[in-house]
Symmetry: D2
Subunit: 112 residues, 4 copies
């Protein structure tokens, strides 16, 4: 019961982090200071890929959902940390969504 609700929240947080990462990724590639945003571009793509895969894994009730969530926590924290270095609004938004996703996913790792 609890788990099913937690899954739903966690899937949603992963989708939101993936979307924010993709928006930040697309926007960074258009910025004048693109050369300063290399790590941001690498990590936002990586974060979008892993968050989306994590949401899919929970959606199909994968027996490995908990392990996958724990990787998701790591990439979300790495991506947020990088995005927090930059002043662009898309970086701030991405950092916020990733911090939130990391927090919700880290609960998942323990209960699942």
């Amino acid at each position: 019961m609890t788990n099913e609700l937690q899954y739903k929240d966690c899937i949603e947080a992963c989708h939101e982090a993936a979307d924010a990462s993709n928006i930040c990724y697309v926007s960074s590639l258009k910025e004048y200071d693109i050369a300063m945003l290399r790590d941001c571009i690498v990590l936002t793509r990586e974060c979008a890929e892993i968050c989306s895969f994590t949401a899919d894994a929970m959606s199909r009730m994968s027996p490995f959902a908990s392990d996958i969530c724990s990787i998701c926590v790591q990439i979300c924290e790495a991506c947020a940390k990088e995005c927090e270095k930059h002043a662009h609004q898309h970086c701030k938004d991405c950092a916020e969504a990733c911090r939130r996703c990391a927090e919700i996913c880290s609960n998942m790792c323990c209960v699942a």
Copy 2:
């Protein structure tokens, strides 16, 4: 402006259809009449894969989002048509989410 809102609705509809397809998939595999649900199992997995990929494509603003949406319409309709043959609640729920996703995605194909 309009497009961005439509994207958001369409991404959400794809996620909902993917989730409903996965729930129907997992539940069908546990049913007593599994032998009657072969096509349902094939199509719900296929639908989950394509809906998730379609949502990802829109999320990263793929230049091929419109073409991908048009494949999503086809699988959602095929999946709904199959699920409507069965009396299980998870089949009914899946058919409903897929019909809705097909409708919203078909608007995407035209405007994008």
Copy 3:
């Protein structure tokens, strides 16, 4: 240098395990004894999803490739163990490809 070659072998092993899992999945869904193959169907899909994601992660040189490989080892072993219970040729072929992938991926976890 060594790592790049190891990556290439590991990516290939993941693709082969994913393909064998999908063949086993599709074939199982057509078998007369489908009701005996429920776990096989669940695990071959799961294995195909995770192997493909693992290959993609190595292909884009993900900083999380090693962690993802370690999940790949687990699902490949679980899938092989289940497939070894069944007499179908597609199950035997799948088990073999998964055992091989698990072995190669487990080297990856240590070196990466």
Copy 4:
């Protein structure tokens, strides 16, 4: 029989194009002239995503494999066209793998 062999070749060509695209993507992000490579970065990621999804679709014998191959042809041609504008070796290698994949996939669209 013929189709199965063609599938195998086409899956392999998709994997090679995805790998070449990812190598070009990762390398472009490290180049001094990154600002000249914005479109190359966008298209190589897109190409990697779509080639990988196309290979997966063929691997699970998706009824939509032919439609998905036709999108794969388009992105491979777009990516090759962009990469051919640049002198970097990774761009040349990527263009070559994408041209080959487009050719093989376009046969798939007709036979499937």
